[in-house]
Symmetry: C4
Subunit: 369 residues, 4 copies
Amino acid sequence: MSKPLISALAKFVAATAGRNMTKAAYVAVAVGVVTMTLLTVDPTHEAAHHGASALLWACLAYFVFEWLVRLRHMASQQRLELYMLSSSGLVDAIGALAVPVALVLGVESKTAWLLSVLWVLKVIPGIPGLRQLRRVLVLESGPLLSVLVIFLMVVFLASVAEYFLERDVQPQTFGSVPSALWWAVVTLTTTGYGDVVPVTPLGRIVAALVMISGLGVFGLWTGILATGFAAETRRDNFLKTWETVSKVPFFAALGPSAIADVTHMLRTMDLPARTMIIRKGAQGDCMYFIASGEVEVDLPGKKVALGEGAFFGEMALLGNNVRGANVTTVKVSRLLVLDLVDFRVLMARHPDLAETIDAEAKRRALENK
Amino acid sequence: MSKPLISALAKFVAATAGRNMTKAAYVAVAVGVVTMTLLTVDPTHEAAHHGASALLWACLAYFVFEWLVRLRHMASQQRLELYMLSSSGLVDAIGALAVPVALVLGVESKTAWLLSVLWVLKVIPGIPGLRQLRRVLVLESGPLLSVLVIFLMVVFLASVAEYFLERDVQPQTFGSVPSALWWAVVTLTTTGYGDVVPVTPLGRIVAALVMISGLGVFGLWTGILATGFAAETRRDNFLKTWETVSKVPFFAALGPSAIADVTHMLRTMDLPARTMIIRKGAQGDCMYFIASGEVEVDLPGKKVALGEGAFFGEMALLGNNVRGANVTTVKVSRLLVLDLVDFRVLMARHPDLAETIDAEAKRRALENK
Amino acid sequence: MSKPLISALAKFVAATAGRNMTKAAYVAVAVGVVTMTLLTVDPTHEAAHHGASALLWACLAYFVFEWLVRLRHMASQQRLELYMLSSSGLVDAIGALAVPVALVLGVESKTAWLLSVLWVLKVIPGIPGLRQLRRVLVLESGPLLSVLVIFLMVVFLASVAEYFLERDVQPQTFGSVPSALWWAVVTLTTTGYGDVVPVTPLGRIVAALVMISGLGVFGLWTGILATGFAAETRRDNFLKTWETVSKVPFFAALGPSAIADVTHMLRTMDLPARTMIIRKGAQGDCMYFIASGEVEVDLPGKKVALGEGAFFGEMALLGNNVRGANVTTVKVSRLLVLDLVDFRVLMARHPDLAETIDAEAKRRALENK
Amino acid sequence: MSKPLISALAKFVAATAGRNMTKAAYVAVAVGVVTMTLLTVDPTHEAAHHGASALLWACLAYFVFEWLVRLRHMASQQRLELYMLSSSGLVDAIGALAVPVALVLGVESKTAWLLSVLWVLKVIPGIPGLRQLRRVLVLESGPLLSVLVIFLMVVFLASVAEYFLERDVQPQTFGSVPSALWWAVVTLTTTGYGDVVPVTPLGRIVAALVMISGLGVFGLWTGILATGFAAETRRDNFLKTWETVSKVPFFAALGPSAIADVTHMLRTMDLPARTMIIRKGAQGDCMYFIASGEVEVDLPGKKVALGEGAFFGEMALLGNNVRGANVTTVKVSRLLVLDLVDFRVLMARHPDLAETIDAEAKRRALENK
């Protein structure tokens, strides 16, 4: 490739070094993995095969290039080892090195390319809400672990029992404890392939017990995760909303306790530009506060622009709940949504807010006469 | 068909254009889909076959007719494109056009009629609580999505691993990554058909890990949905109840904060006419407020009618918890149910309410002496 | 049988007519069903077979007899039709009539006796917490139903799709939509027998989607039930505890609001006579109030009896949390358990209670010097 | 073995008699069970086989020895029968006696050694959070039991129905109710081996219903456990935190009600020595109180040590949420974590705390100028 092209590419990648994933990378991952997958199907004719390998090499090239640029970029900012130890740094390295290393080590090409499946790891840092999931797993690790231990104990006890009961009847499938272990795992997870199945009456009773404990393990597992998740969601939502709320002048007036209150009631919503938030004539059961960005209310005859700190849709909460006008975002905006439910409560607890909203509502009503 | 009949039918359908689904439509959907299903079973004799096709044509005719009438009806109200873009509009269109279009395009008749399965879509707009489900899915989409991504990553990594480990031993089943992918999905969802099963020790260890992550994915999924659902239910119930509560004079007296309180405690219940609400002699643990409609208390000797705003069953909450009389709805009624639990709390928080109920109770006791 | 025996038996049964199930009935059900089950296994020799039938006849006789006596008993109390329409009345009738009717109708004996499996229905009225489960199902029926509808729609759409995709490749398994429906249910419930499995690439993709929606259906289902159950448990526990609390003089002093508070914190516990509640030297994290019955504190040298309204184990919550003495129930007792957690909160909210408990604790400490 | 070695060993074991499990025991369990498992695989050559048995004997010897020492140790403390009846005492006994007894009773050696799988029971007392799980199961036993009963009823009714419908078509699989029972359990748990599958239309409809009830049972089960678990977690966390909180001088000032409040907001965290708690430059959303141990704040130029009762990381909650310095534990420490969420609420409810923290924060800011 010609120098300028490369440097241009380098600039582009460097520019994106901050973000976890570039669109380009996503495409490369998808293309790469799919190609690799198809390659393993017997190629109908040579050409297809060659095309595929070409694609794979291209993806690999992209990842290696991206990695190198990022390394240079980070080095230039003295954040090199920080990056190399970060999850995104590691997956970049793996994506770039796995296949080449395998090839260098003389692994047969067809096999080496299988490693390109590791490219999927590149999406990990980009997964939304992954942090949240991890926190739940960490906080609940104690009980989850004990469930796992119980799971393993049941597996071992059950498989030895089955081995003892079935080995003489069907030596080919229950001929050793390891095969019985395989059966136990397949059964306790209620997967039930049916490749190994007890046939003796006693063996079947043991199996039945294992299946029922399977449900139990499931239940515990889910129960634990559900509990942890509920707590985490509340926490996460609060954090996301807090900053925003305190920025909205409308709430700034309130004391910290009231703000904590309010924060528990609001939900943040990030919208791209030109998105319709409210459709005229639709049923409304929430109002909106503009934390950042700008929206446009499409009133008969004129268009009214509302900026940071303003609110709209309050009519829906003040008796008449059919939306009176279309409202659309003008630029990327962050809104705070207040549900009718919480609105009622809020109004009850903070009458002053109620008045402000009421007054504003009246003013608008007059204005739009 | 004769003109009058058609126009009559048209009127009927137009009248129902507002509602999502008419009984007739439900019947047509059921008949149509069942007939189509049976048609695919080798017909025992010609006659049956002919009857079936006749039925299918009839259903189709009904849907087309319904659709046309609705279109005209909507057009007459300038709500045409709104309707055509609404979910119910779309399913009406699909129900009416799918099969004919297929036939016109020259698809073999037997196959074309399979499209009549799309008629089941017509029930979607009529599903109760669907809105609620959708809201949960939307609000929790973030975490749900990340679980899905994790799911896919596990599927890909596992299937490549298995392909690598099993391809030589059982080339017919693990001969390519796509087949391995099939195995991975079947296993991770703990479906476990058993058509593709790893046999090598390493392959089985990988499989065991996949199954266990299967439980994990399940757990996360459920945990997320359970959390979202809990929140949604609370919200939904509040909205449904709020309007009603504020209409009951008995509560109207209370301030907004108290109303919010009360609303959280009440449960709305819609009953058809002539339904027995309370059976004499039964155990009672809740009282009722009449939001709309009318009920009849069947006292010894006389029948007392209670209308909007009245309450009954309070005796059960004031010490004597055996129902003293049968209570039946006279017309379609909406009741607000107050559980003993919440009654206690309510009374504690709003002694004034307690007195009102007490007084009324006493009055009635005397009266019914 | 001799007259006196019969009448004695009659008395016994009549005496138990109130209760849902007598021990005898449980035994009869167990014996009957097990015998019936074993009878279907080819009998090794005649004798066994005869013995079995004898047993079955005996069980049947018991159920018929029980039913007749109950009928007479209820008739004598003018509660006949109430009983006959009650769940327990219905299952009694079924238990008594199913088999005889079948035999009379000339059903082949071996088959007729299969109906004795209906005897298991007799345990229904005796299931603990069944009321609770039913309430959850009723209250959440809305969302549960919509999940079911979605389930069915997926089943229908998927099966027609699979039928279309697989019918030519494997006509014997996917030869008609009904067989495809069978596949769809087996798959969507993640049961996965493996008797019907798609083989075409497209068919497998559809199947994968079905499996994943399977997880979704699961998740929704569980989420809904979990939510409903949480609410129900709280409610149920409150109801069970409320009555008891208000009976304990110690709490009677409190106002209704405080009682509501307390009730939310206590847990009822019913114990048989001579049960050890507290073991000396064990770690303690809760205290007990005696709602009814009597307990015995086994102090060095003397035994102290505590009756209704008294409390014990409070030391554990006042600093020293090693139990100081064995405590055993003297007769059947109902205790209210107060956890350390809630104790702290309670003390904070109702300092007067704190003092009472403190004082009593001190008094005892001195006394036991 | 030479006397001194034995006595040394004895001392070691006795020393560990208090703890549930020693590392050595864990190793022995792992080695023993794995060896036993492998032994059942046909041994490639004699040597391996001999080595394995040697290992097993060694493990057994260890367990017997450990048990004897513990017995002596406990006897010396008059806690013998207490120990022998405790769960850990029982598993020790089983671990030591099972295999020998079997061998003595003349069970064929290969089979006798299978009992060494019981060694896995030795880990039970060591499982973290097992107490918690057990409490949940106990508290929710009522509903769980009723779900189980329902499960069994469905199993019985379904299997008899299937037996009746399928026995003539496939006598080899549905030839008796017991085999039908096997099918029912496999199906209701959604395991679905596929070894026994209904083929008649009616049989399949029954099966479909069973599968769907399977989902229901799952859902109920999980719902119950999730509910119980949520309650238990809250309780557990409170107990763990309470003691600690009341020890922190910073909170001691507060009244009991405030402490109860605070306790609900804090999370205990136990850390080994030399662990980095806060990394400079990271995002912070919580502050820490030192309940016990000591931490080191690594400020530019100097290192500041903070001891019991001190707090740090508060800056993150006072506006600037980028961590300003590394903080590491010096010795094993127990910290109380206060999330931003709860911090806000706490500050709102207890302004005095807010001031203390603010003041301290300012002081430090100046100091570190």
